[in-house]
Symmetry: C2
Subunit: 180 residues, 2 copies
């Protein structure tokens, strides 16, 4: 399974969990969520929908077109709803470490509807963020922003650090309010 596909399928399942939608509307919502990072080509969305349909996670019902061409309204099956909750409860390692995929998980995590399970997922992310890491190394030793004379690489580290701090603060607050 390709990286993109994993994220795309999660987004499809996540948006449909709330309400049935047709492809075009789905595409707009996915574009808003991840579009500036990675625009969704329609020719990527439709095959993804077909894969999920084939796997029995969603069904398509053709409705006469009220505004334009006939719509295929997409609706999750019970298996589909189960599968979304499974993917949210047991995200794989890359869902935790890849920022894009992690945000996709976060965007739908409320569907898990189980505070301890949600807290467990947040704690996995917290453990990952607390590991020391850098983007640039001197041999094996991670370089800190202050050690770089390149202002652009210093920027990379400065921004990454600010993000990481903001996220850790949010994680701690949220874990507390989840009664972790």
């Amino acid at each position: 399974m390709r990286q993109n596909a994993v994220m795309l399928e999660l987004a499809i399942l996540g948006f449909l969990y709330d309400a049935p939608l047709h492809g075009y509307e789905l595409r707009k919502r996915i574009s808003a969520l991840t579009g500036h990072v990675r625009p969704v080509a329609e020719s990527t969305l439709y095959p993804a929908i077909k894969r999920l349909e084939k796997a029995g996670l969603l069904v398509r019902a053709t409705e006469p077109g009220a505004v334009a061409a006939p719509r295929h309204v997409l609706r999750l099956t019970d298996d589909g709803r189960l599968e979304l909750r499974r993917r949210l409860a047991e995200p794989d390692e890359r869902d935790i470490t890849d920022e894009n995929r992690w945000f996709a998980v976060l965007a739908f995590l409320r569907h898990l509807d189980d505070a301890p399970a949600q807290a467990a997922v947040l704690r996995r992310r917290m453990a990952f963020l607390e590991e020391p890491a850098s983007f640039f190394y001197d041999g094996d030793r991670p370089l800190r922003a202050e050690e770089l004379d390149d202002p652009f690489r210093r920027g990379v580290l400065t921004i990454a650090r600010a993000t990481s701090r903001a996220e850790l603060t949010w994680l701690r607050d949220t874990l507390e309010s989840l009664g972790g």
Copy 2:
């Protein structure tokens, strides 16, 4: 050209700009730079190297293996050096909007070695960050963190906002010191 390929090729050109490297070392450096987000499969790296070789941007010289198997030391050609500077000076729109690709540009922007050109690239990113944007919409209206009752989606917005602020601060400081 695929999204991933663009970023991967930039990283290859960027790391080789400093010094010739063999594939294995290149892979380690790319992994440090982007690995937690998107691990580089060796079977993706080698075809990318071949593409760049075919395009005349780098050459491979076989050296007897000092430690293990014979190494193919990769060295940028003059065309390759020119091409990196071109890609840095004229990043396409997605290099600006896609966070992953933007950080790859930043990691090598010093190679551009031309303060006004560097400043122009930073200003493009600044313009993008200053556009109002959200991940979630009520119709067409972007939703703010405070309006969401979903704590996880609120987290997405809170973290994104902190990142954006940190980056804007850094951009302004750096533009000033570049004499923009």
